[in-house]
Point group: C2
DNA sequence: TTGTCAACTGTCAGTGGCTGACATTAGCCT
DNA sequence: AGGCTAATGTCAGCCACTGACAGTTGACAA
């Protein structure tokens, strides 16, 4: 109809684009339904029907119900790792992690918005935190992320992750703190991106004081 | 047949004892089958058949397949909390946690043995660590344990868990370290109770050094 | 001992997540 | 246009899990 590539033709062939559209539509429909009527109360037949594909097709895009729930979260995690990789080698490990938190969230926000409204992502996060089965999956994903972070930190310092325990210990502390902050955020009032960043930073500030012996005579 | 109570009659009525026996038999059968042929390769019909009860009865004892997998683990967690509660109030938070690790494992070992062979428990732990679906559940349980630990620590120090972040930050670090140690243990050679205790203690020693700025000029 | 009650169990039917097999459709390429 | 292949739909089936109902078996009092 138009010339070679009008303007909104980012992907390759028609087939490719169609696939991408179905993929994103399934995510949107699923998250919308999940947040409205609950995770287990939503059947994958409903999701498939909302996008007008067969149930079998849903399972060709996503291995299971959990998979579609965490599709966007996967982008966030990948983005975070990229940002960590980009930190200057001169920074001390904990400093690099801290700066990554400070910087990464803005880019993450826009990346999310290319698939679903950011507000839907926030609602999804809350739903996850209040659904035991999904909390379990979230934690396992965090553990995998943690492993990759440990490898990155070790590489920065020229260490072997399996020989020196410090990288794993450090990221264990770090992501423990991140999770604690995320949990508080998910039940709090302010559900903005700024809020989660500030909360995390504040929690990170407490690492030092927390391991000190006596809390009563600060 | 014998007099009033021969000697191995610990529980109340016959009904009670029978129930206990079925309960334990289901655990044993399940863990045996899981460790031999894999978790998802084992159907609950098989487990029920091994104990000679109906599938429906299995689900009256355990809410789901995961539940039976972590039945023994639940005892371990409860035991750990008890031991932490018993720590003298004078100890600093991290010290109390550290001493609990040092002390608790022996009592835990004998508690486990009252239900299944300790060796089966060890094999089960390894199976859990190598089964993604179960890793997820393990992590969620750890998170719940973590929450209780935070409350205990806060109470010891006369703090409000929701107001002061230090209790949660500390236990987040602590259980992150515990998990890292457990993971290494689960893939290592020595699968003894002593091994996991020593490994954990050694990892705890690295908390201080890990948060120091520069690892390269120790 | 016997009868009643309540707890425990088995059977059956059904839902929902998930998979393999096979036929059909629809973009791609010559 | 026509053949190739990826994407999809349909169907049958497994397994985890649940509600409903009926049968069995300890507990306990008369």
């Amino acid at each position: 109809m138009a010339t070679s590539t009008p303007h909104p033709a980012p992907a390759g062939g028609l087939r490719e684009r169609k696939k991408q559209r179905t993929h994103d539509a399934l995510i949107r429909a699923a998250l919308e339904l999940f947040t409205e009527q609950g995770y287990e109360a939503t059947t994958v037949d409903e999701i498939a029907e909302a996008v007008d594909v067969s149930q079998r097709t849903f399972f060709r895009y996503f291995a299971n119900k959990e998979d579609v729930t965490f599709a966007v979260q996967g982008m966030v995690e990948a983005r975070f790792l990229d940002e960590l990789r980009a930190r200057p080698a001169a920074e001390a490990p904990l400093t690099a992690l801290r700066h990554t938190v400070a910087v990464a969230w803005d880019g993450i926000g826009t990346a999310i918005a290319s698939v679903i409204p950011v507000e839907l992502y926030m609602r999804t996060y809350r739903m996850i935190e209040s659904t035991p089965a999904l909390v379990a999956v979230l934690l396992r994903r965090s553990a995998e992320l943690e492993e990759q972070m440990a490898r990155l930190v070790a590489r920065r310092e020229g260490l072997d992750v399996d020989a020196d325990p410090r990288p794993r210990v450090l990221v264990a502390m770090f992501s423990g703190v991140m999770r604690a902050a995320g949990k508080v955020w998910s039940v709090g009032e302010d559900c903005s991106v700024d809020a989660i960043r500030e909360l995390t930073m504040s929690y990170l500030d407490h690492i030092g004081p927390a391991i000190e012996g006596n809390w009563r005579t600060r």
